[in-house]
């Protein structure tokens, strides 16, 4: 049975992406909004990258990684060293994406260190491994004098702007979406449901885990690079456990196993913290209380394993439609 797809369902998302880029390009070019709001938009974008990439490991694969800021730190420092020390200054503007990718690769290499113990341990023990990795990364940076050690590292070039953040957010969403709906991605979901059963039906669990960890860490590293070139001063304390905790909260606020959830979770949390800034210290007391209330009322987060249709690949949507048509509309086909 041939399923007809409407023009809208085929082109809506690509058009939205292009329109979004036009807006992201126009805002700094013509100073359409207050620079403060522009800054918040950039933080939202960076947090979306961190949240979606952590959701791949924690939500889709069902592991419990609690040290995501460690990967971010590696990416931030590698990218900053590349733009400040390696790439000539007059070229830095053009080669900036390469520096970010370098940071992502650095974070990916560190992810190997996490992936190997994850072959043997799961759940709460893996939490410990990632936690320790976060502390080790911070401690190592504090002991490298060439990047300022505990004094911090001055990144003199403000290379991050809204169009770049936007492009990287779209790349992150696109790559992770395609990964999840690929063969390896089905393996990731199978590992979440039951690792032993996944292995029995022929999922190469080691390889799949390795890939998921590396992709997740890569985008955390790129986000770290963007963050460094926005803040212009990085410090090991920027990447401590508290930062990891914030990313975790954004993931579970939005809902695990949902990219739209991560986008919403990161946006809401970042904007809420800014909106509460007038409360001073007390905002960080109020925000977690709101989170606790939300968790009690809705334990699976905002989206909770559901996905916005626009983030599901078209042929996957068609497959689900066919499935529903064959079963007479009884099967629920809302993503997942």
């Amino acid at each position: 049975m041939q399923v007809q797809t409407s023009w809208i369902s085929r082109w809506a998302v690509p058009l939205l992406v292009v329109a979004g880029f036009a807006v992201a390009w126009a805002i700094p070019r013509y100073q359409l909004i207050n620079p403060y709001y522009e800054l918040i938009l950039m933080y939202v974008g960076i947090n979306i990258m961190l949240t979606v990439s952590l959701n791949l490991v924690n939500g889709y694969m069902g592991e419990f990684s609690v040290g995501h800021a460690g990967f971010m730190a590696v990416g931030a420092y590698v990218a900053s060293v590349l733009t400040m020390r390696v790439i000539p200054w007059d070229m830095a503007g053009y080669l900036y994406p390469l520096a970010l990718i370098g940071g992502g690769i650095g974070a990916g290499v560190v992810a190997l260190l996490v992936a190997i113990p994850s072959f043997r341990t799961r759940g709460d023990y893996l939490a410990l491994v990632t936690l320790a990795l976060n502390m080790i990364v911070k401690s190592v940076i504090e002991n490298i004098d060439a990047v300022g050690g505990p004094r911090g590292f001055l990144v003199m070039l403000r290379l991050t702007n809204l169009p770049w953040v936007y492009v990287w957010v779209i790349v992150t969403l696109w790559v992770i979406r395609n990964f999840i709906y690929s063969n390896a991605g089905r393996g990731v979901l199978a590992i979440r449901e039951d690792e032993v059963a996944a292995e029995l039906i022929g999922v190469r669990t080691r390889e799949v885990k390795l890939r998921a960890f590396i992709i997740s860490a890569f985008f955390a590293g790129v986000a770290g690079g963007l963050y460094a070139h926005l803040l212009q001063f990085i410090h090991p304390r920027n990447f401590d456990i508290l930062k990891s905790t914030e990313i975790l909260i954004m993931v579970y606020l939005g809902g695990i196993g949902s990219m739209m959830g991560s986008v919403l979770g990161a946006s809401i949390f970042t904007v809420l913290l800014e909106a509460l800034r007038f409360m001073g210290v007390w905002r960080m007391a109020l925000a977690p209380l709101l989170l606790v209330v939300l968790m009690i009322l809705r334990p699976t987060g905002i989206m909770g394993l559901k996905e916005w249709r626009g983030l599901i690949p078209l042929d996957e949507r068609l497959r689900l439609w066919r499935l529903r048509a064959r079963k007479g509309g009884s099967a629920s086909a809302a993503g997942n």
Partner: protein, 293 residues
């Protein structure tokens, strides 16, 4: 040799505090399979309650300790009732995230009420040095910390293994679904677990204030996470494992700092613990659970 024995005394002092906190992690984990990430901040609240007791009420050592343990136990039970109990049947991570949220709330609640600057903890016992055979010296704070911790831990060990309530706790950690059939009130046991865990962390907070007399609202984060690591190294869910893990972590940190510059302490200590976990994934005393297919 003398140097190392002296360092061992320091390690026992630090390890005692880690062990007291690790016990709370491991008890809650054993019963609820919940990593109570707010526990490090309960330790911090304990230190501040102890400070309030010592400064405002002018209490001496032992009453301060008991007052702090009682107040903090009450806090632990309140948190359990309000925040964790509604999530008993929710996905496990929801409760973990709630715990993280509670931890951040406690940090900033204390920050908002007390202020950000570090506070000095008054000394509650007379200082003194005693010479031991072999040229070692031990001061009164070390005797206090190691003594109080060992008494509390022996008491807990007896309570878990020697009383009916302790037996109920062990039963719940073995299989929670069967225990209500034996006529045991599970909710009461869970609350009691939180009370004991929080009281031990509070004792750790007061003792910490005696040994390292500067306290601030963020101190619970790093020490709490380290105590969690100690609990996992010992085998999470195992009470004696938590005690052992606490002392192992204390020794590793002190010995590393004695040989290398102290900035390498965290790095080397965590790397060693990671390696240990790669070769023994369930911790030292942890039970290997066969995975059923």
């Amino acid at each position: 040799m003398e140097f190392w024995l002296q360092q061992t005394l320091n390690a026992l002092q630090l390890g005692s505090i880690y062990a007291l906190i690790a016990l709370g992690y491991t008890m809650v984990y054993g019963i609820l399979r919940l990593i109570n990430f707010a526990h490090g901040d309960i330790f911090m609240v304990g230190a501040f309650v102890g400070l309030a007791g010592a400064l405002w009420l002018g209490l001496p050592m032992v009453p301060t300790l008991l007052f702090t343990m009682a107040c903090t136990a009450l806090l632990g039970v309140t948190i359990e009732r309000l925040a964790y109990k509604p999530l008993r049947n929710a996905p496990r991570v929801s409760a973990v995230i709630t715990a993280l949220g509670i931890g951040i709330f406690l940090e900033h609640f204390v920050l908002g009420t007390v202020g950000a600057e570090p506070r000095a903890f008054p000394a509650l016992i007379a200082g003194g040095r005693f010479d031991l055979p072999g040229g070692l010296t031990v001061n009164s704070v070390q005797i206090l910390i190691i003594g109080v911790s060992v008494v509390l831990m022996l008491g807990l060990d007896w309570f878990i293994r020697g009383t009916l309530t302790g037996m109920a706790m062990r039963a719940i950690s073995w299989d929670r679904s069967v225990v209500p059939l034996m006529g045991i009130n599970v909710d009461r046991i869970i609350s009691l677990t939180f009370a004991i865990g929080s009281a031990l962390a509070a004792a750790g907070g007061v003792l910490f204030g005696q040994a390292y007399p500067i306290i601030d609202p963020y101190m619970g984060i790093l020490i709490g996470w380290k105590a969690f690591i100690a609990a996992v190294v010992g085998g999470i869910g195992n009470i004696r494992g938590a005690m052992l893990g606490g002392y192992i972590l204390g020794m590793t940190e002190i010995y590393v700092a004695a040989v290398l510059p102290s900035t390498y302490r965290d790095f080397v200590a965590f790397t060693l613990l990671l390696l240990l976990l790669v070769f023994r994934p369930t911790g030292i005393l942890g039970r290997v659970q066969a995975q059923k297919v």
